[in-house]
Symmetry: C2
Subunit: 238 residues, 2 copies
């Protein structure tokens, strides 16, 4: 098997241990950075806050994040991606799934909530960049495919509707944070939002086959995590 993560070469146990410590140390910094950014915003957070939160030190921090908090924010902003998304018989299901997976992760991981909040900070684009353009491109492709397959109505304009997905996803999560003081129910709100959107643009015959279950994101993501772990255990270690 060749599925062991590329960061950990299996030929040198000692190097492997050092590298694992580096990965863990970086991961602690990213998590600490995410929590600081959520609590105090990007501009209200200092490199020292992150170093203290991660119980790290300046030497390690600046070795791995030479531009300080800017590098931490960049890593948080671009590390969410499509983990947990599985190919589905219906493309419209995949459109719903990615929103539900990321809603689940907003509820359970500081990093994803931090990525969302960071993307709307003043000067975000110039300071550490934003993944929103990539998301809109991805959504356009999904909608075009769904139209070709007859899952979305033919008159729908992909460019026009592609913005609606990140728009409603972000807004529902941010308003939940204010209205509820927590993110416990975001999957419910996002499921309702996506159901509305699919009723508006989806082909009527396809709608009953889309799964909008509130726990859909959790099930898909947990399954994926378990598969990753299993692949790691099955890989040769010596």
């Amino acid at each position: 098997m060749t599925s062991s993560p590329s960061e950990i070469p299996s030929d040198a146990p000692k190097t492997r241990k050092v590298q694992q410590r580096t990965i863990d140390g970086k991961s602690r910094i990213i998590t600490a950075g995410a929590k600081e950014f959520i609590a105090n915003g990007y501009w209200g957070t200092s490199a020292n806050d992150i170093i203290a939160g991660a119980e790290s030190n300046k030497n390690f921090f600046y070795t791995h994040f030479p531009k300080g908090k800017q590098d931490v924010a960049r890593e948080i902003s671009f590390n969410s991606t499509w983990d947990g998304l599985k190919s589905q018989p219906l493309m419209v299901q995949e459109m719903v799934d990615i929103g539900m997976i990321l809603s689940h992760r907003v509820r359970t991981e500081a990093r994803i909530l931090a990525a969302l909040r960071l993307s709307f900070e003043p000067g975000a684009t110039e300071e550490y960049g934003t993944p929103w353009p990539q998301w809109v491109e991805f959504n356009i492709t999904q909608i075009e495919t769904a139209i070709e397959r007859g899952e979305i109505r033919p008159h729908v304009n992909p460019g026009e509707q592609a913005r609606q997905l990140p728009g409603l996803w972000s807004g529902l999560i941010l308003t939940a944070g204010v209205l509820d003081g927590s993110y416990e129910r975001v999957e419910e709100y996002v499921a309702t939002g996506y159901k509305n959107l699919m009723k508006a643009i989806g082909s009527p015959g396809v709608l009953p086959d889309i799964d909008f279950s509130v726990n859909r994101g959790e099930v898909l993501y947990t399954t994926w995590l378990n598969e990753q772990e299993k692949a790691l255990q099955d890989s040769p270690t010596e």
Copy 2:
């Protein structure tokens, strides 16, 4: 006529002038505060930044905003309300109208964009409060009325859908700011979002009668402003 604004008594021309100067001075501070909050966030803005931006002075500033930037943020957060909204034959039209008016104002007034951004700052609720709960209550009442009148489908849950309006409105505006680097096209995006929502929850017979024009907010708000101005001119001044 008794329609002259209550802040300006018409019986004392000298007092009137002083009070008008106070109103103008406060207004300059609020606009300057809004611009600073948009550019640097609440936590990145100081009272001195606002005073400098407004070309005001500490004495005037703290006389009218004793808690400094916190009072400015509170005033910005709670001053948007329903200006420009007119009673319409269809309640679903009023639901669309308020979103379109506020989208128009996001594009043209720093205060409304600042109010939106302030509402999602870390600690907003504790620091200066947020109008979102009032908005959701308002939306619930609108949806209930629309269901009673047969404009929204009977199975729709008002509490569930009421969050979708502020959710999609905020998210579409914030993502536009990042994706376009401007708010020039927010009315277009919000019109599409509201059209989708109404297709999902509105009674099919009512849909063709709803006006989703991109300039609807502008027309309503400009008409309202002109009416206000005319009322002021028509009021006795001596």
